[in-house]
């Protein structure tokens, strides 16, 4: 007989791994990517491929240079690349997309210690930096080539158009997916919801965060006199609430913490949308709440069962 192995309990582990979780997120993003490809054509897939490819390559190089364990196998870089792609307009110049990946993977993720250590969601931080640095490309005022053939209103997102009191898409179009100049992952609320339901079903995310976030925006915009249905369907809310605000590392761990986090995201989003200088507030809202997460975690620590406070 072989030598027996001895180790402390437990001697069995669940089949869920970091890699399986990340794979689930990739799967959940596929409907949104499919809608983008259907509406915008091959370039949507090209942008996604470039973002995923450069994210993985940058992570590989970073880990190599820092002489750390290789982590590209956990697929988190694939998730970041894909998420960033879906946060960009289809006409984005590829070099800008690659620069975004650099911000996400190198600056926000690896320089802070890699997976689990970043203070903000890498894709979200990259989007915010690109928005501030390349707002022209990001709001697609100068779309290279003709990717918006039919109803091309090369001005801004539906939200920006709403703000300008311009012509708007119908609610059903916004739900199912409509060509516009916003980020290519934001065009179909339905596709994002399908992905979200998959993640909840697979227990990858808790439904608390997206429900609270979207609910807050709905109620608050309603109270403030905006059209709440249009508000929750438009812009990056679905994408942000389902895929970015639920990022493990940068959102609170307890349910109570998640509620506070999502409420904060909702309130900031509405304030920026209705009163701020930018047409969209989701990215800034999540980024701000990311930064507050350690404080929220501290305030919402669990009380041990039967524990006495010394």
């Amino acid at each position: 007989m072989n030598q027996l192995i001895v180790s402390p309990s437990p001697h069995t582990r669940s089949s869920v791994t970091t890699r399986s979780i990340m794979l689930d997120v990739v799967i959940a993003l596929l409907p949104a990517l499919a809608v983008a490809a259907w509406l915008f054509g091959g370039r949507a897939l090209l942008v996604a491929a470039v973002c995923v490819g450069s994210s993985v390559l940058l992570e590989f190089l970073c880990r190599r240079l820092m002489k750390r364990d290789q982590t590209i196998g956990d697929l988190s870089a694939v998730v970041t690349g894909l998420l960033l792609a879906l946060n960009l307009p289809v006409g984005i110049p590829l070099w800008v997309a690659i620069f975004g990946c650099f911000i996400a993977i190198v600056v926000v993720k690896q320089l802070f210690g890699g997976i689990g250590q970043n203070f903000a969601n890498p894709a979200m931080a990259a989007r915010v930096i690109l928005l501030a640095s390349f707002s022209g490309y990001m709001t697609a005022r100068s779309v290279p080539g003709d990717y918006l053939a039919v109803d091309a209103i090369a001005s801004a997102t539906p939200l920006a158009r709403m703000a300008a009191d311009a012509e708007t898409s119908s609610l059903l179009q916004m739900f199912l997916g409509v060509k516009s100049t916003c980020a290519m992952g934001e065009v179909s609320a339905l596709a994002l919801l399908i992905g979200g339901c998959y993640l909840v079903f697979r227990r990858v995310i808790s439904p608390v965060t997206p429900l609270c976030y979207i609910g807050t925006v709905f109620v608050l915009t309603g109270l403030l006199g905006a059209d709440p249905v249009r508000q929750i369907l438009a812009g990056g809310l679905m994408l942000g609430a389902i895929f970015m605000a639920t990022d493990y590392t940068t959102s609170p761990a307890t349910t109570k913490g998640k509620v506070i986090f999502a409420l904060g995201c909702g309130i900031i989003t509405v304030l920026i949308r209705l009163y701020g200088g930018y047409p969209e507030g989701v990215s800034f809202a999540i980024l701000l709440m990311n930064i507050l997460t350690p404080q929220i975690d501290k305030l919402t620590m669990k009380k041990p069962l039967g524990g006495k406070t010394a």
Partner: protein, 428 residues
Amino acid sequence: MLKLGGVKLFHFKNSKDAATVELPLPSQVKIPLLQHMGAGCQPVVAVGERVLTGQLIGDSDAPMSVPVHSSVTGTVTAIEDYVAAGGRVEKQVVIQVDGEQEWFPSQPVEVHDQASLVAAARAAGLAGLGGAGFPTHIKLAYKDIDRVDALVINGAECEPYITSDYREMMEYPDDIIAGVELVQRCLGISRAYIGIEDNKPEAIQLLAGKLSGREDIRVESLPSLYPQGAEKVLIYNTTGRIIEEGEIPADKGVIVMNITTVANLWRYVQTGRPLTHKRVTVDGNFVKKPLNVRVPLGASISYLLEFAGVEMEKARKVLMGGPMMGMAVYQLDAPIIKNNNAILLLDEKEAEFAPTTACIRCGRCIGACPMNLMPAALERAYDQVDEETLKKLKVNLCINCGSCSYVCPAKRHLAQKNQLAKGLLRKK
């Protein structure tokens, strides 16, 4: 109402229909004199002496101790040191079996109040048979017994594979009920709860049927959520009471007993014969015929596995107990003791260590912890030797159920770190 954390496990109760079979007598038994939580016993027999089945062979003056009896008839050939679980060196009595199985003379025991019940539990050699091995008589001897109004019988058996308690319920339901009534009568406890996980519907039905219409003993069907059988979890889920830090269950009016222990207590009172055998489940995914075997205490694991016809060349890890809290044994000639309820075999693949990766702060460990602890935060505090934080986050309340390690997608050794952290705090 507060809902406690836990994890859904595969049950693998493959041996549930395997009725108990008797292990043929081995030629030799090695009976450890420490088979319980507390102090080990001193031998009361000498080398060369002939002992009978059920004869006292080890006892101790220490209050936290349980006497040990011979499981066989035979001759004492040696009294030697051995390394007990946890690394302590204790004594064991080696007996050459002569096959007579002649019982040490005994008679039914008169039990009518707390003092006589405590004496009986001690004389029966009973320690918690579910796995913890806590001396039964100490629980029953709680001095402020009038405060105790609830008896909780642990039939949860929440670990995968194990069906030792389940077979007790199916084969000796009347002993269980009589034992419960005995304890209730002697201690004046008005209400008893028999807690059973709902993955054992036949056992629930059998006991509930026998107890139908009775208010004093209730069968509670509990969700199959590990660790349902952990003492504090079981107390909360049956009585709604929370045992505070530093308290024992009796401080909150509850005494908890394992279901096989209570049946054995009744059998002792009926016959005067102490605990000499234990039912052990033998299973594992390559075990063709999972068994429940009645093993004389002190028989070796290897002898038991030989009897079970296990293909030993496939085993890479051998556990005493279940996959969540069982102990990995390092040698197969180790003896079966009172609190063993299973010998579980893991193959190459199951014994493999998954590589540990970085914590992704997913919070699964927090959701899984039945004690409401924050395992990932505790791990960080331990790694930083931050004793203040370890104390503040109550690492001492960890029951080492292993749920946090089980759910961790990064395969971090969270439960193990908690044990190390407790050790770190104890050293000071």
